[in-house]
Amino acid sequence: MTRFLEKTVPAFAWLCGAVFLAAIASVVGYLLYKGLRTLDPGLFFGDTAPLDALLMKRRVFGGIFPAMAGTVLLVVLSVGWAVPIGLAAGIYLAEYARGGTKDTLNFFFDILAGLPSIVVGLFGFSLAVFLNKNVSARLHPCLLVSSVALAFLVLPYIIRTTQVSLETVPPRVRMTARSMGATRLQNIFRVLLPQSLPGLSSGVILAIGRCAEDTAVIMLTGAVATAGIPGSLLSHYEALPFYIYYISAQYADQRELATGYGASIVLLAVCLLLFFLAFLVRKSVTSRALYRA
């Protein structure tokens, strides 16, 4: 029996890995098959000349360039809110919180992590309505509200990965700087955080992916079908996942549906690009913090 298990468990593990890879390959393959031929300047810029669109001289109609810009802005903003707050909360949980406080906070962050995104979207929408009624009538669902709501959605990932990677720094490393006269903060910023960068960056990558794909939050908080490139934090905007959702629900002909596939490929590419950026940032921070002579 033991021998049987020794043989079958690895085989099963291999099989699971293969199934997973096959699933990814078929999704990407299908997207490419359906959408590859739509990838031309027209998909991005519609009838506008590409150069005019890039220089923002002329507004793009019927192209996904504004949606790309919207998604990139949205991701950068949301991650920009979530990272500092998440880092601080993660540091607090790992290094300062103890006993009952820690257990309670852990419990609440677990709940927050499990919050369905449509609920977060509703929260963002109510926030916008509240601001509109009580602060200024100029405030309505917009890029700012969406990015805050999305930051709220991804905060638990960043808090958790920060906390876990700090807590798993080996005690020996944790003690080293302290034995040389490092204060608690010096130890956190000069040893523990640089040590945790790989963990932190995987949290950020997770957050980027989530912000880029989420549709439920943004359709309630400011994403619209046509808005052009957002002029300010308080304007409506377009976003790729919303475009994909919209086009696949209301396409008029096969050609329009195909642009949905094209947009999906572009969304994947945008995510890849953002992941790569996050990776580069991590690399450069690591070498700056630890290896520059």
Partner: protein, 240 residues
């Protein structure tokens, strides 16, 4: 010749999670000499060292009674006193651990690290001090062309010497060494032992060691810790 006393401990009792490790350990240690602390494993030797730089305070569940006084700035001072910042203490009392503990950063950064913690910023000064510390531990020739390599790429013996350089860069008055050679090969052991003997001139060294021949080679004095206490009066002067 009797050397002046640098450290005296009075009735240190220590327990982890309520389990007693040290019981009324009283001893004194002399300036500019190597004192070896020996005893069966688990008798509290490492813990005793941790009470001298207060590092046990960073670990959970320890508790300590008793006093430790160190002769610093011309007078005996209670290192647990309220007016004695622990950060200052640890800059003057260096520690070397059983396993070399390079931080996962470059060689240069490792050695310069205590200086940066102390807030020293002048790059030239830091460079000079790093070079001097690395020369002191005879590592300079081996690493001068690869200072920005990760410290973890060094061999075990080199790592331990680098840790020594790192501990020496702040010119500590006391050096605590917890079995500093137990993870090294014979050649590296010899190099480290020679270094310790050289350091006697400016430092008070306390070495926890398992190896009796090592103790015989380098120690000026041997004290035995048994069941958490020093059974023979360790407060006496140097034995020959």
């Amino acid at each position: 010749m009797t050397l002046p006393v640098k450290i005296r401990t009075h009735k240190i009792s220590f327990s982890y999670d309520g389990k007693p490790v040290l019981r009324d350990a009283t001893a004194c240690f002399h300036e500019k000499s190597i004192t070896a602390i020996v005893g069966p494993s688990g008798c509290g030797k490492s813990t005793f060292l941790l009470t001298l730089n207060r590092l046990w305070e960073e670990m959970p569940n320890g508790s300590m009674r008793g006093t430790v006084e160190m002769h610093l700035d011309g007078a005996f001072r209670d290192i647990y006193g309220k007016d004695f910042p622990v950060v200052q203490l640890r800059r003057r009392v260096g520690m070397i651990f059983q396993e070399p503990n390079p931080l996962p950063m470059s060689i240069f950064r490792n050695v310069a690290f205590p200086l940066q913690l102390a807030g020293i910023r002048e790059r030239d000064l830091i460079r000079n001090k790093v070079e001097r510390a690395l020369r002191k531990v005879r590592l300079w020739n081996e690493v001068e062309n690869r200072l920005s390599d990760p410290a973890l790429s060094l061999s075990g013996g080199q790592q331990q010497r680098m840790c020594l350089a790192r501990a020496l860069i702040l010119e500590p008055e006391v050096l605590l060494l917890d079995e500093p050679t137990s993870s090294l090969d014979p050649k590296a052991v010899e190099a480290v032992e020679q270094l310790l003997v050289d350091l006697k001139g400016r430092c008070t060294l306390l070495v926890v060691s398992h190896y009796l021949d090592q103790v015989r080679r380098i120690a000026d004095r041997v004290v035995e810790l048994r069941d958490g206490a020093f059974p023979i009066d360790a407060g006496t002067a140097l034995m020959g």
